[in-house]
């Protein structure tokens, strides 16, 4: 931290930016300006005494599906719009321990179901690069807040690209850690075998600093038990040819050119991932199944509008769920319930697990031929509001991001160019727990 850095001044500036930009962008759900000012004052003292933590003075926005004690955790759903989390997510504890200051909570697609943040029950968030376009999703609020300089960094969550898609759409850096590298304790469930929390920032260095603080084993999340950071000397960068199929030619061109420049330092090889064509159905079916289970707790008794007690139990459940949940959420619950029913489980859910295994094995063997995979982040540029109303069309935009979740790999996106004023980004995949290698290549691309 620079010696002349004044966190209180920076906070004033950020609050001014929010006041100016957010009425249009609408990245935030709640802004904690009073709390942040008090906390900034404390942190300023600590910095002065030389006792500031690793993130002293960093102003961070939090996707509103992450629990902050005493704050609303809406998950952008009517079901939770008055739910105040009674505890802190592990990542929040870690950020506060290192003196980051939480500035507010950001918008998302309801329960993270969507790729453009238009499925929020709160409001739409606009893309700061072009307000007629979507910011991507589901962490659209976090990416937009970073892009509009309404915070220094933000946390998002990524189940099938929910950090990387909006980061690419808004032209900022986004990183999904290896599954198990960051505790999910306190993250609202979407698909539990895929969910990861990760940072969004204006540059790779900031994203990495945040990652370094939030990573690590946590007894409150048993999937972190296997976490073990691995170092690897990156030599070979693989370019899967399927990553460029069906991608907007302009995006393909810009990203390919930038990746090619890595050949000065790395060997570049073309590789193939033929099972990528199964990635979208595999991801969606698996996610529907897990999501339908995760949503069971919203039965209308504990959350949402109060159930009519004079009615029969199941009828009361139905009514509350009926008017407290949005269309996309309901669609996913119904599909997920269907494919896990006894009658259909074998032909759908069990098949899906097999396909996931196939994709995992293929990535594993390709990552034996190279250390890193590089390609474009998104196959399309951010669309305009109202353009993608068909869910299947929206789902297909996730083709390049879902594999990292299915396989559990670390993946980051970094903006590398500009297509008629809209950002184009490269995505880097690494091996399990070689998150640091991904950051290394992202830094190179940033230069």
């Amino acid at each position: 931290m620079a010696a002349n850095f004044d966190i209180e001044k920076r906070l004033e500036q950020i609050i001014a930016n929010i006041k100016k930009a957010d009425p249009e962008v609408k990245a935030f759900i709640d802004v904690f300006d009073v709390d942040a000012k008090a906390r900034a004052k404390e942190v300023k003292e600590k910095i002065k005494e030389g006792k500031g933590g690793k993130l002293a003075g960093m102003l961070i926005a939090i996707k509103n599906n992450i629990a902050i004690k005493g704050k609303r955790m809406t998950c952008s759903s009517k079901m939770l719009d008055t739910y105040y989390a009674p505890y802190n997510a592990t990542v929040i504890e870690k950020l506060e321990m290192e003196d980051a200051v939480i500035i507010g909570t950001t918008n998302l697609d309801e329960f993270a179901c969507g790729s453009d943040t238009t499925h929020s029950a709160m409001h739409w968030t606009r893309n700061p690069r072009d307000v007629s376009r979507v910011p991507g999703g589901s962490s659209g609020g976090s990416a937009a807040a970073v892009a509009a300089d309404m915070c220094d960094a933000a946390l998002g969550s990524d189940t099938g690209g929910s950090i990387r898609c909006p980061s690419a759409f808004c032209g900022v850096v986004g990183f999904k850690p290896t599954y198990g590298a960051v505790s999910r304790y306190g993250l609202g469930d979407m698909a539990m075998s895929l969910d990861q929390i990760g940072p969004i920032a204006q540059d790779v260095e900031t994203a990495e600093r945040v990652f370094d603080v939030i990573k690590g084993k946590d007894k409150k999340d048993p999937v972190t038990a296997v976490y073990e950071e691995k170092e690897n000397d990156v030599k070979v960068v693989g370019i899967p040819k399927e990553f460029f199929e069906g991608v907007d030619p302009k995006i393909a061109k810009v990203t390919k050119n930038v990746i090619q420049k890595l050949e000065k330092e790395y060997e570049i090889v073309e590789v193939s991932l033929p099972s990528l064509k199964y990635a979208i159905p595999t991801y969606y079916l698996l996610m529907f199944a897990e999501f339908s289970s995760a949503m069971q707790k919203y039965d209308g008794l504990r959350y949402g509008s109060v159930a009519d007690r004079t009615k029969e139990l199941y009828q009361a459940f139905e009514e509350v769920r009926g008017h407290s949940l949005g269309k996309e959420v309901k669609r996913r619950i119904l599909l997920g319930t269907y494919i896990t029913m006894k009658e259909f489980k074998e032909s759908w859910y069990t098949q899906t697990l097999k396909a996931r295994k196939l994709i995992q094995n293929e990535f594993k063997s390709v990552l034996e031929q190279c250390d890193i995979l590089a390609g474009p982040a998104m196959p399309v540029l951010p669309w305009k509001f109202g353009e993608k109303m068909d869910p299947v069309e929206m789902y297909s935009a996730d083709i390049l991001t879902v594999s990292a979740n299915l396989v559990g790999l670390p993946a980051g996106v970094v903006p590398v160019g500009d297509i008629s004023g809209l950002p184009a980004s490269v995505q880097i995949h690494g091996r399990h727990f070689e998150d640091k290698s991904v950051f290394e290549i992202m830094r190179k691309l940033e230069e």
């Binding site: 505890y87 897990e290 339908s292």
Partner: protein, 456 residues
């Protein structure tokens, strides 16, 4: 022929809940004191790793029931909606042990699961203190042939849980679902029986109900019935239109747990001699009757009492066994106590037994002392201070009392003279009563006979 199968859910004794660190002493706490984001299923909370002590207990039970062990423990989600279920699914493992056996009853499987909260239907409230208490579920094959056999099976199972020191003692710690069918009928399930004793009552009721229906030519329908503890009857629940589909699938939040060989070996070492083995040993080592041995081993503390008393009072093994099985067990059962919960201690039992068996106190005196000790929770020496228990050995004193009783009861005396034996017993009873149990009834009887004959 009657065919019965049981599913037994028993709470395991652990300090912490199954997937979080909340304490398990929920009965002592106010409602919703022992809770956290995990066991109330707050949005964003995740389960912690499976409680290792609970897992160890299940493995212990599985081994004691001669099950084959599964090495991969997979936690699944069982989905259904109910107010006591905070997440809308219950976490329940796949079988941990399979193909076991207890006596003649095959054990299909045992697994671990979490207890839900407690829903008070009338008040419309839920107490989550119980949510997350670890449970074992033991499923038998339908090998039980009568309600009596079911009762015996459960008594032995209960003894085993006690021997292994894995179950919770409080009432309501076990819940049993029982199914029963009769030749020519259909399988009927009785749910939520809250005690081992209730199982016998429920099954007897169900057996008679089904037999009566079949006798009348009525059809026994396949259904789930609820046991009403107060009336001892079963009541049909509203029939479901479709079979319930729990949509089981592996819980993504909990990686499969691998049970290591070391863990199994460690658990094996903790398994003590079990009731059946102990009973056989008692018969061969102490030469006591098999029936008595079986009663003694029903509670480990009782078995230990027998064994240590027998070591102290060599040669009196059968007398000790008869005493424990007889008067002691009678008084315990009457108060619904186990030896452990009675508060009696070995030394007092030895003292009491010694005085009784050496003839210093009578049968009646011994029972009186036991009652006093159990009801007042006092030791034998205190009983001795307050009650006059010493047997009247002085025959002159006894004869004096007999004379008095004979004089007061001319009619029974006359009746006895003409051959009414009952009258003799009445007279003996009067003497024992007069001496507050200090007279030995056998001796009294002889004196009365002698006196009456002498009068002739």
């Amino acid at each position: 022929m009657v065919v019965i199968g049981l599913e037994i859910h028993a709470q395991l004794k652990t300090g912490q809940k199954i997937f979080c660190e909340c304490p398990t002493n929920y009965r002592e706490e106010e409602a919703n004191e022992n809770i956290c984001p995990v066991c109330t299923g707050q949005p964003g909370s995740k389960p912690m790793a499976l409680n290792q002590k609970a897992l160890g207990s299940v493995i212990k039970i599985a081994l004691a029931l001669q099950c084959e062990l599964k090495r991969d423990i997979l936690i699944q989600r069982k989905h259904y909606f109910y107010p006591d279920l905070p997440s809308g699914y219950q976490r329940t493992s796949k079988p941990i042990g399979i193909n076991g056996k207890l006596g003649n009853v095959r054990i299909r499987e045992v697994h671990i699961e979490e207890d839900p909260g407690r829903y008070e239907l009338r008040k419309g409230t839920v107490d989550y203190n119980r949510s997350g208490i670890p449970l074992i579920e033991i499923v038998t094959e339908p090998d039980i042939k009568s309600p009596e056999e079911a009762r015996q099976f459960l008594e032995e199972l209960n003894a085993i849980l006690g021997y292994l020191d894995v179950g919770r003692d409080e009432p309501g710690s076990s819940r049993i679902d029982a199914n029963l069918s009769i030749d020519g009928g259909t399988r009927v399930e009785v749910k939520n029986i809250n005690s081992f004793k209730g199982v016998y009552t429920a099954l007897m009721y169900e057996k008679v109900r089904q037999q009566n229906m079949l006798r009348r030519g009525a059809e026994v329908i396949m259904e789930t019935r609820h046991f009403d503890e107060v009336s001892g009857t079963t009541v049909g629940l509203r029939k479901k239109e479709t079979e319930e589909d729990y949509r089981y699938f592996p819980d993504p939040d909990i990686p499969p747990v691998l049970v290591t060989k070391e863990m199994i070996e460690g658990v094996k070492k903790e398994i003590p001699e079990l009731p059946r083995q102990k009973s056989d040993r008692f018969v061969s080592d102490y030469r006591i009757k098999p029936d008595d041995a079986w009663i003694l081993v029903s509670e480990i503390e009782l078995a230990n009492l027998f064994e240590s008393m027998s070591k102290e009072l060599k040669g009196k093994e059968q007398a000790i066994a008869s005493w424990i099985r007889g008067p002691l067990k009678k008084q315990l059962n009457y108060r619904d106590l186990t030896f452990k919960s009675s508060g009696l201690i070995k030394n007092d039992s030895v003292l009491l037994f010694k005085e009784f068996s050496s003839g210093f106190i009578t049968d009646d005196g011994m029972e009186k002392a036991l009652i006093e000790m159990l009801d007042k929770k006092i030791g034998y020496s205190d009983v001795r201070l307050t009650l006059n228990l010493g047997k009247i050995n002085d025959s002159l004193e006894l004869e004096g009392i007999v004379d008095e009783i004979i004089a007061k009861n001319p009619k029974p005396v006359e009746d006895y003279k003409v051959g009414n034996e009952k009258s003799l017993n009445f007279l003996v009873g009067q003497v024992v009563k007069e001496t507050e149990g200090r007279a030995d009834s056998k001796a009294v009887k002889e004196i009365i006979i002698k006196k009456i004959k002498a009068k002739n």
